[in-house]
């Protein structure tokens, strides 16, 4: 029996006395007496399955990209994915501009913002919402337009966010219509 199965099936170490039928009995004991253990193990296995299917099931990568861009169909769909770790997932890039996308800005001076399309490890929307990104990009209280882009094995999601200032660095986040 593989080591990891023996650990569950014959946990006491005294189980070796019974050669036949030990595993099912012990496994049943674990199942019966420790629902929490089974539930957590099932959750871990379900997430691992979800992850392993990601490269071959486009809908899974798509759901994760929408999660990264804060564009899941509802907050509940976003929330349902929170236990799934997402460190350094996908090729995510962000661009921050002080004029709307497509606007010819040759007549306007560029503000001191990061306007290069740089890679970011995960959750590219954090460039607008999180800590340092929020401070660097929004501290002067001017409107900003964020372009988020995530790529995964041929799939791409592009999102445009408008951080509209309502006064005294009080912003409202507006999602531009999906292109």
């Amino acid at each position: 029996m593989p080591n990891f199965l023996r650990l569950i099936a014959c946990p006491s170490g005294r189980a070796s006395a019974g050669k036949r039928g030990v595993m099912p009995t012990r496994l049943n004991e674990v199942l019966k007496n420790d629902i929490g253990f089974i539930a957590i193990l099932f959750s871990v296995a379900a997430i691992a399955t979800w992850l392993l299917l990601m490269p071959i099931v486009p809908a899974i990568a798509n759901a994760t990209m929408h999660r990264f861009h804060l564009r899941s169909g509802s907050f509940m769909r976003f929330a349902a994915q929170f236990p799934i770790p997402a460190m350094y997932n996908f090729a995510n890039r962000t661009e921050v501009n002080d004029v709307p996308p497509g606007f010819v800005d040759s007549f306007f001076g560029s503000l001191d913002v990061d306007d290069s399309f740089r890679y970011i490890n995960h959750f590219p929307a954090r460039d607008a919402t999180f800590s340092v990104g929020r401070y660097v990009n929004l501290r002067d209280g001017r409107d900003r337009w964020f372009t988020l882009e995530s790529d995964y094995r041929g799939q791409q999601l592009r999102t445009q966010l408008h951080l509209k200032n309502r006064g005294e660095r009080d912003f409202v986040l507006l999602r531009q219509p999906e292109s």
Binding site: V44, M87, I120, N121, Y135, R153
Partner: protein
């Protein structure tokens, strides 16, 4: 089943190590969190995607404080009721932190959440299972969680931009102020750095994939030692701030050191 005092002490020690690591992971970036809260007070963002309660700075601060205090109490007080309640509060607080507008993206809280889930289960079994059984099950569950978290990192990188090293080159090699990358920039030109970034990125993808797929199957102590070495080296060679993400996993991995295989 009554455990021997020695075994009980091992169970208690394993539990406390996990709690200490969870606590350290949260306070590791205390200054960063403190400054973040100041930024959120200075610059507010109204995003209706998040429920109002999950945009509140008070909720963010309260949840963080609740997790820190409850973890501390679980370390200091050896009482099952306190620990049960403390683990539940930690789990609840970390759930809030994983969903809050100001912290949803921080992996510290994701790894902390899994650690709290493990802790809540572990405490619930302290008076039910034989100590040796509990340590074996605890170690198995811990390495399943670590495997899954490493697998998540690997799968997300199974993409041409990571395999070519393009992403990590941009994030780390271009201008990241950290000893490894400063040292490399001092010694190699841009072309060589790009090649190093490719090797570095592929090494990470392969390592995470192998560990993600196999760690859970290894004997407890071997898995514990390998996981601790891997997780520690990720932070030492990439970014010290990553200890906030990895310390709670290091604590979980350490449970394997107490289990007999």
């Amino acid at each position: 089943m009554i455990a021997s005092p020695k075994l009980s002490r091992r169970v208690d020690l394993a539990y406390r190590i996990v709690q200490v690591c969870l606590l350290l992971s949260l306070v590791w970036k205390y200054e960063f969190f403190y400054q973040s809260i100041q930024v959120y007070g200075y610059i507010t963002i109204d995003d209706v995607f998040f429920p109002r309660i999950l945009r509140s700075d008070s909720v963010l601060v309260g949840s963080f404080a609740a997790v820190v205090i409850s973890s501390l109490l679980c370390i200091l007080i050896r009482n099952r009721v306190v620990r049960n309640l403390g683990s539940f509060v930690s789990l609840f607080g970390l759930t809030v932190l994983c969903l809050h507008q100001g912290s949803y993206n921080d992996a510290t809280f994701t790894t902390g959440w899994w650690t709290s889930l493990w802790s809540w289960w572990f405490v619930s079994r302290m008076n039910c299972d034989d100590a040796e059984v509990l340590l074996r099950k605890g170690a198995f569950l811990a390495r399943c969680m670590i495997s899954m978290i490493l697998l998540a990192g690997a799968v997300g990188k199974w993409t041409p931009e990571y395999w070519s090293g393009e992403v990590l080159h941009d994030i780390y090699f271009v201008d990241r102020n950290f000893w490894t990358f400063n040292w490399l920039r001092d010694r190699y030109d841009a072309e060589a750095l790009r090649e190093i970034a490719t090797t570095y990125s592929r090494f990470i993808i392969i390592t995470e994939t192998i560990f993600g797929l196999t760690l859970w199957m290894l004997p407890a102590r071997i898995a514990a030692i390998l996981a601790i070495i891997l997780l520690t080296s990720i932070a030492l060679f990439s970014n010290f701030l990553l200890f906030s993400v990895l310390l709670s996993l290091i604590g979980l991995a350490a449970v394997g050191l107490f289990a007999k295989t």
